[in-house]
Symmetry: C2
Subunit: 84 residues, 2 copies
Amino acid sequence: MLETQYLGYAAGILTTLAFLPQAFRIIRTRQTRDISLLWALAMNTGIILWLLYGIAKNDLPMIGANSVSLVLLMIILYCKIRYK
Amino acid sequence: MLETQYLGYAAGILTTLAFLPQAFRIIRTRQTRDISLLWALAMNTGIILWLLYGIAKNDLPMIGANSVSLVLLMIILYCKIRYK
């Protein structure tokens, strides 16, 4: 069903771009105290697995969305480790 | 392929349970300054759409994972609004 497909695209775009304001915020403030290190580590690992899953299934939207998420989450993790 | 399926499960479990330490942290500290409100809003909206997508596709693992994520993200959003 076409509507279901659009629902999936909208969901993917939202949960991917959501990390943009979070990354910008901690780059700007250099404050990451309230961010959980365990959250950042688990999200990075999880998104790497989602990316591999997308590659294994040859699912282009999944590869695209998870690549963008991974870059943003790596920035967040780097900031979390760099700025206490 | 069975291995691909396990990859998907591992990815889903990681990116769902990742929100647990983040929720615990802000419940314990009552500090949410470094969390982006826009991130929390976009994630909640996005996960609601993923949940609807899972329901539309009758995909039980997707419904399960996104239900757990949504509860944790609603707690995070509530804390973000409640504690400045």
